[in-house]
Symmetry: C2
Subunit: 107 residues, 2 copies
DNA sequence: GCGTTTGTTCGTAACTTTGCGAACAGAATT
DNA sequence: AATTCTGTTCGCAAAGTTACGAACAAACGC
C-alpha cells in the first residue's frame, strides 16, 4: 500500500456517481432532463417522499453540480446544469469505454 | 405527492451509481477494466487504504454486480462482470442521452 | 395587514458508510 | 507440524445519509 491518492477525474466521476446513487435523485434528474416543468412543486408531485426530503435531494444534486436552482418568486425553478451534465456524460462515457474485456482471458 | 414508486431501471441505475460513488471503487474498476492483474494484492497495492477496507469495497462492487471474484488459492482473483458492465454502460448512456436541453429555454 | 402558497431549514431518529487494526481461516511452503 | 502468505470477517468509532414533521421565511392575493 503506497501513499498514492486518487486522480481529479476519479474524484469527479465518483462525486457525480454518488449524487446519482439514489432512485429519487435519478427520478429528479430524468424529470428535469425531459424538460417538463422545473418547479419544485412539480418535482415533489412526481415523488413518493416528503417535501423536506425532496429539498434535501435537490440540495445534494446542486452541490454535486448536476442541477441549478433559481428563485422565481414565490416558486423555485430547478434545471439541469448543462455544462456539468456534459462533463458527466463524457466522464461516464470514457469510463465505460475503457474496459478491455475481450473473451475469457480473465476470469 | 402520490404513492408512486421508482421504476426498475431507475433503481438499477441508482444501484450502479451508488457503487461507483467512491473514488476507491472507481479506481478499482478502472484498474480491473484495464485488465492488469486482477489479484486482490495488486488492487490493494494501487490504493491508499488498508486491506480490510479494500476487501469491503470489493464486496460492495460485487454485490452491485459490477465485478466478480474467484478463488485461485491462495489468492483471490477479481474481474469486471462483463454482462452487468454492458448493462450499466447502456443505462448510463441512455440516461445522459435523454437531456433535451437546447438553448436557454429553461433557466 | 392577514392568511395562503411555496419551499427551506431545524431537530431528531434510524440506519449506512468508511476506515482501521486485530483476529481469524485456508492453502502453500518449509 | 509450524510458519508464512493471502484475504475475509469482526468489532468498533466517527461521520454521513435518508426520512419525517414542525417551524420558519418570503412573497403573493385578498
Amino acid at each position: 500500500m503506497t501513499n498514492k491518492d486518487y486522480s481529479i477525474r476519479q474524484e469527479r466521476l465518483a462525486r457525480f456517481a454518488k449524487a446519482m446513487g439514489h432512485p429519487a435523485r435519478i427520478a429528479i434528474l430524468q424529470f428535469l432532463a425531459k424538460q417538463q416543468t422545473c418547479y419544485f412543486g412539480d418535482i415533489h408531485e412526481e415523488l413518493p417522499i416528503a417535501k423536506a426530503t425532496v429539498s434535501q435531494h435537490l440540495k445534494e444534486l446542486k452541490e454535486a453540480g448536476l442541477i441549478q436552482g433559481e428563485v422565481e418568486a414565490p416558486k423555485v425553478k430547478y434545471c439541469i446544469n448543462r455544462d456539468n451534465w456534459q462533463l458527466a456524460k463524457e466522464l461516464f462515457g470514457g469510463f465505460f469505454e475503457q474496459c478491455q474485456c475481450k473473451n475469457d482471458d480473465c476470469c
